[in-house]
């Protein structure tokens, strides 16, 4: 089917970009400024959604802007994989935009204009990356995302903020200015192009297996946002950022950009044929299995709630990669829909962490005894999202884990079935105690009497918890997209 030529992919990016500009211009008029982000989010989601029917029916929406180098264009192409990422990011931006207003106002945070401007630009970059038609365009948005999230990480401008943001930039820029750069240059050298091709750009490449293997691992570690160990340490460091940033960016937009890039490389640069031919799938599967288990064990040992969530994210991101590299159709579907499932649930968990912090100033789980009685909505949502993380029906996490486990059986790799099950046990071990302590923990830690829900913060987190369940009951949209990718 010929692609539908349309300016909508560019519009979706431009909306968020213009929103950032508007935020900057409305610096002094707070009320008006705060309306911009939710409004832009709704518009962006509408534009993304308007392209869904075309993509669901197997088509693509394309826009070629101009040629950069022979074989490299600045171009957008909306396909099923990009649609998954774009839908999740733009939908959750609506919720996160409202949440951010509540959070930032309640804590009377400084530099709110910078915060909202960078936030909107991050979304422009995320959706731009989702719609990128080739590696060159993708990498431009990937780097913009690294840069504009940097001020969000050092937001507090205290010692912890500078240290955390430094680590953030060192990892992300270090990876992209070394191995990723090499991978791009080698890909261009080998194939004369950087386009995403169904079946794989390098599938028919005339290059040695050793070189292709090297290129592949350069991509895998070069896209450090995917947080495959040992490139994961930036993510816990980024937790010094305000919680809305951790929620939308470091559980959805930024990290999903990472795994999205890896999936692009697996599906559309190497292609499943070349992946299995070179034995790369199984090698990566072992690598990410290690990440899945190690990160879960790290998470168990963290008392700081956000740190626990961060390590959980590291672990869950590798689920996505695992599904893709098992190279069986069912597992690939599982990996792709886990992008959405994890996003809905993890953003809820972060929202809850932020809600607890706003309401009580508490960060450590051991201090949260009994807080569920004061914050029933928050901790209720937390519990629902935890169930989704563990993979209990009827939540979103169940659907993706179901496909992943089935897929590993289909691929005949029982070892990874065990990894998935062991990880689920670990998930339960580090999430359920939080809810338990909150609801049934010892009578009243001191100072909880004045803790109460903050509406502008609580409503979004309940909404995302409901989304986590809804996706578990009606997974059709994301399944259809994922099957479109695998087909």
């Amino acid at each position: 089917m010929d692609p539908v030529i349309s300016i909508r992919p560019l519009l979706a990016v431009a909306v968020a970009g213009l929103a950032a500009l508007a935020v900057l211009l409305l610096n002094k008029r707070e009320k008006l400024r705060d309306v911009v982000s939710p409004l832009a989010a709704v518009v962006m989601f509408a534009i993304v959604a308007s392209m869904a029917p075309t993509v669901l029916s197997g088509g693509t929406v394309a826009l070629r802007l101009f040629e950069i180098l022979p074989g490299i264009d600045f171009a957008f192409r909306v396909d099923a994989l990009g649609m998954v990422f774009a839908t999740v990011s733009s939908l959750l931006w609506i919720v996160a935009a409202i949440y951010s207003i509540g959070y930032m106002r309640h804590l009377k945070e400084h530099a709110q204009t910078r915060f909202f401007a960078c936030f909107a630009t991050s979304l422009a970059a995320a959706v731009g990356g989702a719609f990128a038609a080739n590696l060159f365009t993708l990498v431009i948005f990937y780097e913009v995302l690294s840069l504009v999230t940097y001020p969000l990480v050092y937001h507090h401008e205290d010692e912890a903020g500078w240290a955390g943001s430094r680590k953030y930039l060192v990892y992300l820029m270090g990876a992209s200015k070394s191995v990723l750069l090499a991978a791009l240059a080698l890909t261009y050298h080998i194939s004369g192009s950087l386009d995403f091709v169904p079946g794989g750009l390098l599938a028919k490449a005339n290059a040695s297996a050793a070189l292709l293997t090297a290129v592949y691992f350069c991509y895998l570690f070069g896209f450090a946002k995917a947080a495959v160990m040992p490139m994961h340490a930036w993510l816990p460091a980024a937790m010094v950022a305000p919680t809305p940033v951790s929620a939308l960016l470091h559980a959805v937009a930024v990290v999903k950009m990472g795994v999205f890039c890896v999936l692009r490389v697996v599906f559309h640069v190497f292609g499943t044929g070349l992946m299995s031919g070179l034995g790369l799938g199984i090698a990566t599967a072992y690598l990410v299995s290690f990440t899945i288990l190690m990160a879960s064990i790290y998470a168990l040992t963290r008392d700081d709630l956000k740190a626990r969530l961060a390590y959980s994210t590291v672990s869950q991101l590798s689920y996505v990669v695992l599904g893709a590299v098992l190279l069986s159709p069912v597992a690939m579907v599982g990996g792709i829909i886990h992008i959405a499932a994890h996003a809905f649930s993890k953003i809820t968990l972060f929202f809850c962490a932020g809600s607890i912090y706003c309401a009580s100033g508490k960060r450590n789980i051991s201090d949260m005894a009994g807080i569920g009685r004061r914050l029933p909505w928050t901790m209720g949502a937390f519990f629902v999202a935890s169930l989704s993380m563990i993979g209990v029906p009827p939540t979103a996490g169940f659907v993706s884990k179901w496909y992943l486990t089935l897929g590993s059986v289909q691929a005949g790799e029982i070892a990874f079935l065990i990894v998935l099950l062991a990880s689920s046990v670990l998930n339960a071990a580090y999430f359920l105690p939080v809810s338990y302590v909150a609801f049934f923990g010892g009578e009243g830690s001191e100072g909880l009497s004045r803790v109460r829900e903050i509406p502008l913060v609580t409503v979004p987190l309940v909404a995302t918890a409901i989304l986590s369940v809804l996706m578990g009951i009606f997974p059709g949209y994301f399944l259809a997209l994922a099957e479109g990718v695998v087909r």
């Binding site: 950069i68 990498v139 401008e157 500078w162 820029m173 191995v179 090499a182 080698l186």
Partner: protein
């Protein structure tokens, strides 16, 4: 007779210098210098607009006998490669004038005269089609540059100027010997095109290659003959640094492109592994040196060594991507490093300090300055979307095609550049505003913006739409490649 556009471009700054000598007031001198350099830029733009990108032949050629007895002619002309650098020289010319507006407060007239003569001679180098004329401009450039560093430079200016002079002169003497050898081997002519058409024996080519190598390597500069550069850059006034980094360093690489490759193709191919190794060494070693600097100007200076390593690597990869990337990177480096030196100058005018440790928190007091500094820093580290990334991708792609190990070394250099540049930016722009506590800081004014914005435009233009720039050089680069490989293949 056709309109002598190139002569006009070359001699206009010299004429401007002549006019300046008759003026008295400093302000009149500044404005007149600006008018002449802007006019020169307009002519260069007109030249590019009329440039035919489909041919590698020399265009806008002018030939007049000069000393017919020994075959010297006054011959000018540009192909795609030189046209790009004529434009770059003219672009940086008026920016140098703006950068010296208040920074130079004594002997303004003498300074501007030197600056304009310098520009005329640099343009002469890029336009010359006669080897003798080329050599005259090449050597004469030393004098105004020596004065610019030695008279208006910093505290160590005399030493730095002398070192600069000695290094380049030593290189140039070998070049002169090479020129004489070429003259006698090539049928007693100085016509560059005729000399290029000669088929020299390999032994002669090899000797000439080394004579030229030393001359050009000093200018580029390549490790280990780079040590004049940090001294010269640091001591030079801002305009001097801009011209040094923006144009002078390009002359070495231009020499390789105009002489070594087409005239000595077999030797170029034979010695290309050596050249690639030297380039990789410069990339990594220059990067390490930059990493160790706590002086802002030195950091930018050492980064030039590393970035020029990418240029020579691209050239001696001897394939299309490498060469186009190398040449594009020459242009990019001129724009970006020129801008960075401009920024060093701007902050120095406010603080009279070059120590990075003195600058923390600049973003709080000079947001516009730091925003543009961010753009040029990212451009210098070749972030995707900026000009240098396109060049770097081409160079690396060509470099990997030539030799995987050399490509890998270059990638290490790219990583180093991210390290020292981001580290520099963080220390200068972010953090608590210690700079405002010590010095009176003001953000950029309109005059400074006028110098900054055009450079910023080129950063993004080449980064996102490099096609017009690659179109200019394309035919000439392809022709150059056939010159190298056909002759070599003929063996």
């Amino acid at each position: 007779m056709a309109f002598p556009l190139l002569s006009l471009i070359v001699f206009l700054p010299a004429a401007g210098a002549g006019v300046l000598m008759c003026l008295r007031s400093d302000d009149a001198v500044r404005w007149t210098a600006l008018v002449f350099t802007v006019l020169d830029l307009a002519l260069a733009v007109a030249m590019l607009a009329a440039f035919d990108t489909t041919t590698h032949e020399m265009q806008f050629t002018e030939t007049h006998p000069w000393v017919p007895a020994i075959g010297i002619t006054y011959a000018l002309g540009v192909d795609g490669i030189s046209a790009l650098f004529v434009f770059l020289t003219a672009l940086l010319g008026w920016i140098s004038v703006l950068a010296s507006w208040v920074a130079i407060d004594r002997k303004v007239k003498e300074f501007m005269v030197s600056l304009l003569f310098m520009q005329a001679l640099m343009l002469g180098v890029f336009c010359a089609l006669d080897l003798f004329l080329f050599y005259v401009c090449w050597e004469a450039m030393l004098i105004p540059m020596y004065l610019i560093i030695g008279v208006w430079g910093g505290d160590g200016r005399v030493y730095a100027a002398f070192k600069f002079f000695l290094y380049t002169l030593a290189g140039s003497l070998l070049f002169l010997i090479g020129v004489i050898v070429l003259y006698f081997h090539g049928g007693e002519t100085f016509d560059i095109l005729a000399l290029t058409a000669q088929d020299l024996p390999f032994r002669v080519q090899s000797w000439l290659f080394f004579a030229f190598l030393i001359a050009f390597a000093v200018k580029v500069p390549m490790v280990p003959v780079h040590t004049w550069l940090p001294d010269a850059h640091v001591q030079a006034p801002t305009a001097g640094s801009i011209i040094l980094a923006g144009v002078l360093l390009k002359m070495g690489a231009y020499g390789f492109l105009r002489f070594s490759l087409p005239m000595l193709p077999e030797a170029s191919v034979y010695f290309s592994p050596l050249m690639l190794a030297l380039s990789a060494l410069a990339i990594v070693y220059g990067g390490l040196l930059a990493l160790a600097q706590d002086d802002l100007k030195k950091l930018v200076a050492y980064s030039s060594i590393s970035h020029m390593g990418f240029v020579t690597m691209g050239i001696f990869a001897l394939n299309l991507r490498g060469l186009e990337g190398g040449i594009l990177q020459m242009f990019n480096h001129g724009v970006t490093t020129g801008a960075l030196f401009l920024f060093v100058g701007l902050i120095y005018e406010r603080t009279h300090s070059r120590s990075i440790a003195d600058y923390g928190g600049l973003m709080k007091v000079a947001p516009v300055y730091t925003a543009f500094l961010a753009l040029f820093t990212l451009s210098s580290m070749a972030l995707p979307g900026t000009n240098s990334f396109v060049g770097e991708l081409l160079v690396l792609s060509g470099g990997f095609a030539a030799n995987l190990t050399v490509g890998a070394a270059a990638v290490l250099g790219a990583l180093l550049s991210a390290a020292y540049l981001l580290g520099m930016y963080r220390k200068v722009a972010l953090g608590p505003a210690i700079v405002a506590a010590r010095y009176k800081i003001w953000d950029v004014n309109a005059r400074e913006m006028a110098a900054i914005v055009p450079l910023a435009v080129f950063v993004l233009w080449v980064g996102l739409y490099p096609k017009p720039f690659l179109n200019v050089i394309d035919a000439s680069v392809k022709h150059l490649l056939t010159q190298v490989h056909d002759k070599e293949g003929g063996q």
